[in-house]
């Protein structure tokens, strides 16, 4: 297993996410969790594009499948290596985003990651949550304006969005 694969597993462990790949929802959670980890400042080197379910990175999928083929298994890596303190602190900022029942986590992370992506990549005009909501709806993510507004606030409170950048919530 290479350094990036090890780092992925440690980040997921820190976020209390199982590195399972069997189900689509498992893979979705991993994709969005790593996306948000990078937004929190833990640079794992993954570049995300936009797919039907929001931010997605092919290289991450390849690395995760590679790790799944490793006979040492996840447990061994998680026993042998540990994250540094600063990375742990940065991941700690994701606490509020991760608070959900297991069955709701995929939708929640997809929502936060998608909102972050659209604002961070400046793909929505600076006119409040309305356009952002419409853009999400075009990809079957039906959230109310209040939910979108709250998501932006949560992302800002976690310091995942720079205060000065363009975005629908800029005052």
């Amino acid at each position: 297993m290479n350094r990036r694969q090890i780092a992925n597993l440690l980040v997921l462990q820190e976020l209390k996410i199982q590195p399972r790949l069997d189900l689509f929802r498992d893979r979705l959670v991993i994709q969005k969790a790593i996306y948000l980890a990078q937004a929190a400042g833990v640079d794992l080197g993954y570049y995300y594009g936009w797919y039907l379910h929001g931010p997605y990175c092919s290289s991450l999928t390849k690395d995760m499948f590679g790790a799944a083929m490793d006979p040492d298994g996840v447990e061994s890596v998680q026993e042998r290596y540990a994250l540094d303190q600063l990375s742990k602190q940065q991941l700690g900022r994701l606490g509020a985003l991760m608070q959900a029942e297991a069955e709701n986590l995929p939708r929640r992370l997809e929502f936060f990651a998608s909102v972050h992506y659209l604002i961070d990549r400046q793909q929505v005009p600076d006119d409040g949550p309305k356009t952002l909501r419409q853009r999400l709806k075009a990809f079957d993510k039906d959230f109310s304006e209040v939910e979108v507004q709250n998501a932006i606030k949560t992302l800002r409170d976690a310091n995942l969005l720079k205060p000065a950048q363009r975005g629908p919530n800029r005052s």
């Binding site: 350094r3 189900l23 640079d43 080197g45 999928t61 853009r135």
Partner: protein, 464 residues
Amino acid sequence: MDRIVVDSIHGAIELTELERRVIDTASFQRLRHLKQLALGHVTYPNATHSRFAHSLGVLAVMSRVLRSAAGKLGLDEEQQQDLRLAALLHDIGHYPYSHLMERLDHTVLTEERNRRSDRGTPKIDLRRVLPYPGHEEVGQLIVTQQDDLLDAIGDTARAQRIADLFTRGRAADLQLSKLIHSSLDMDRLDYLIRDARAAGVPYGEIDINYLLNHVDVSPTRMVGIKYKALPAAEQFLLARYFMHRTVYYHKTTLAMEEAFRQLLRRCRDKGAYDVPRDGSAIRELVADRAGLSEFTDHFLVSVARRALENDNDVIKRLAEAIVLRKPPKLLREAVALIDVTNETERKHNACTSFLRTCEDRLEELAQDHSLALGLFLIAEPPDIQLEKRGALIPAGEAGAQPSDKEDELIKVFVPGKNEPRSLVDIPESLIKHCANRVARIVRLYVVEYDQAKVQQLRDEVQAW
């Protein structure tokens, strides 16, 4: 059309004035100095074709797809031009020797694999080495930051739009982005034929004309292949598999590439010969006009040449292997065709057990033969799969849940259906029955040229 370029694969490729301007930039001309097959020419002497020629080839394929599909997709002229430019520029961010350098962060030094060393709990400091960005991100940076390309394209917003097409960055243009990345995979349609012809092997030949003449578009704007071209689509996927087995993963090429990768990792760790220290150094380099124009295969060759004088014996011998074309010798190879849906097979197969043995026994072998551990190279190329996999469950059951990249699977219009189906879901397709399997290869080499010593090592390793 303003200009014609004659290509050995596609014949006459017509260029618009805008495309001509883009091609004439220094940023695009850099692609002439990146070999498509990295070190493939050490095995196949004629495989020296460039990413420049390949990029023109992908433009030619896009041009033909648009001829068949633009009307049904309702694309206006500007959208078509943007797609053509995205095809032309899709590889603009490639590193010298392509994936060899790009994947440097994936390179594990042989000493680091040693399982017998202290197995305490090392801290992973994620900020110590910011990973190199992938070529898609580098491409996006080049297209949106290099003045020559911005001048040629005309405005920053359009440059960003084009970059977003080939990186799939823009949510609003998902439908257009799909065309670049869609199941037709124009990138692959060009490179398989180009690489096969340059190498002189028959395995990559595909019926590209038949495939492109049978492109169709569904009422929901899904692009696919008509059913009568099903065998051509299957052969297209099989061709990629055979090209990996024969050309891309040739034992000599892989040996040289692994030696080069290990050399670069060691030089980078030592801060030697201007090898970019991390991802931020790469981003600075590609933002600079002069830096970018020198970021070619020649840059890496010069690293290897300078490393010939290094006082570290492992670095020096790796450099000699590359500069003097003295390929490391193969000691043993493990190959497995793995059913990825079977967890036991996935984790316990010929490759994984050989890797574990190497990790357990290489240090002792090196000591016994008075060789530095770093002179043993383990090459572990990415698995070869027939079709983009989305799960560790059987392909037939995969249809019951959404696929991560459904829009990138090959689609076929089955008779009687308006919307195309993924090839992996068509029962009579050979691909459906092979889609769960990946081919994995692991090879152990040594940088040593004394025949008797190599044979002795080979005998010992074979007996493990």
